[in-house]
Assembly symmetry: C2
Homo-oligomer: 315 residues x 2
């Protein structure tokens, strides 16, 4: 495993997230074995994986769907998925008891030098790997759904995770075509959901106080802030938005942002009445029965955007 | 002016923002007269406008650069720019005394049914139009820089702005190809900078507390959150991220976001030491002398992204 590359992977949990991880591994040439405790999910996984790959092929994102599918094997037991692989991606249901049981079982089966990443979006590794055998080999590898289209992966160690794993797995994830980041220690929501939460908090507050409709707040992002943010993060954005760079920007605009922040110092939960107002506006814009069709549109737009980004120079 | 379309426009202030507005009007077929108090700026404006249009033509965003340029006239006086036009876009320096003086001068010159939008990014219209003649015809029309590439425009009335202006100008801005939103009453930072400020606040706090590098926080947006946000706002994003829609999502994840918000209830300013840490990381990633080249890259990426979005079905 010296070359920072995963040559064989096990995926535990074969639902939407696990199936998408299987695509990430297989399209990069990695042999992957998928296990799910549910026989129904094991049976449906190959068709689900093939259907996603065929959509991606239509968008010009992959070639050779048959060859990719041939690298994915659905197996009938946990040992068959995780024994003797370089890397295990655990993607079972987000419940601490379930994560704990499967992690302890995986820990007894893996090689000493294997690594186990969990897709957990909220539960930190310290909450379910403390008593797992080889617990120093476990960490969070939290993807954005679906990981075969959105490349970000948050790597979050527990305090007992072997620190040498982080640079190795970061390089290995990059070799797969993902965009890993390192969250240096555990924090609620990790980085991505904290950033999303901060923006959502302000969006809901502006909506609640009647400054703008949900549709207009959405336009502010989709036709304003989101254009730059689709290829540059917030620090690079402000670094290029003042002649002297990030420090020049922070000195000029820091007082405005501090004043805005002070106006939001008493967070309160989203009330049922507020949620109902948002529901009414969204359901007037998009009927309940149109949600699946709009989600399929979102995935087509994501695929086209990924293809577009690949065509652009990174600078 | 019944058809919600601007047939003639005056731009006051011919710098970067004013020049970009001239492009917005002229490419939509509108005759536009540009005035700046500085002779230097008046002299350089035509070449600046032509250079931007030639970049856009290379990216496939406009055709007929000569014809567009022919609709822009730089004039030698304020009356020549604003008398007898349907719409005035005021883009002078962001200082309240300057905005007040030019607004009072514009108010004496315009037709009774003209509308005056200010590009002000922070100062509300109530702070500088109170004593302007025809003050009911003034409001904020805040663009994102540069408005010929990023279409969002925030329309923000003062309490004395004629309410009938808002639907008319919204439709007229849409006819120009912009994406206007209505901010129903004045608030510090309007909508866009409040949303950006909320995300920046969390980004700086995570950086300050050592959870991640600025580069990794940037990746979280540019390879994670920003992909969807480049074509869908935050409310539509969460509406499609739970089976039952926005209310289902809010009930499931509201407690997590409330907990994250409570961890940020005491905002403090970005300290000089913190700003210095961000400067050091950014300047290690991108030298001070490379800032202009990277800004040019950003604008090429924005142009390519705009061309890509035009090729996509809106759903």
């Amino acid at each position: 495993m010296a070359n920072s590359s995963i040559r064989s992977a096990g995926v535990v949990g074969g639902g939407l997230v696990g199936s998408a991880w299987a695509i990430v591994f297989a399209r990069a040439g990695v042999l992957v074995r998928v296990f799910d405790a549910s026989e129904d999910i094991r049976r449906s996984a190959p068709a689900r994986i093939r259907a996603s790959l065929e959509d991606m092929a239509k968008a010009g994102l992959v070639e050779g769907v048959d060859a990719i599918c041939s690298r994915v094997t659905v197996v009938e037991s946990l040992p068959a998925a995780v024994s003797d692989v370089d890397y295990v991606q655990e993607s079972v249901f987000e419940r601490v008891e379930e994560k704990r049981a499967v992690s302890e079982a995986i820990g007894t089966l893996i090689r000493d030098d294997a690594i186990v990443g969990s897709s957990s979006s909220g539960i930190p590794a310290s909450a379910f790997t403390e008593h797992a055998p080889r617990r120093e080999r476990f960490l969070i590898a939290h993807p954005v759904n679906p990981p075969h289209l959105v490349p970000l992966v948050e790597l979050v160690p527990a305090s007992w995770t072997d620190p040498a794993i982080l640079p190795w797995l970061r390089a290995a994830m990059e070799a797969l075509g993902q965009a890993p980041i390192v969250v240096k220690r555990e924090i609620e929501g990790f980085i991505l959901n904290r950033l999303q939460g901060a923006l959502l908090r302000e969006a809901w507050a502006l909506f609640e106080e009647g400054y703008a409709s949900a549709a207009d707040i959405d336009l502010t992002v989709s036709h304003g802030l989101g254009l730059r943010w689709s290829f540059m993060g917030p620090f690079e954005t402000i670094d290029l938005n003042a002649p002297g760079g990030v420090d020049d920007y922070a000195r000029r605009l820091g007082p405005l942002y501090q004043s805005i922040a002070q106006s939001r110092s008493n967070p309160h939960p989203w009330s049922p009445e507020l949620i109902e107002r948002a529901r009414l506006e969204r359901r007037a814009a998009l009927g309940q029965d149109e949600l699946p069709e709009r989600s399929a549109w979102r995935d087509r737009r994501l695929m086209a955007l990924v293809a577009h980004r690949r065509s652009q120079p990174s600078g």
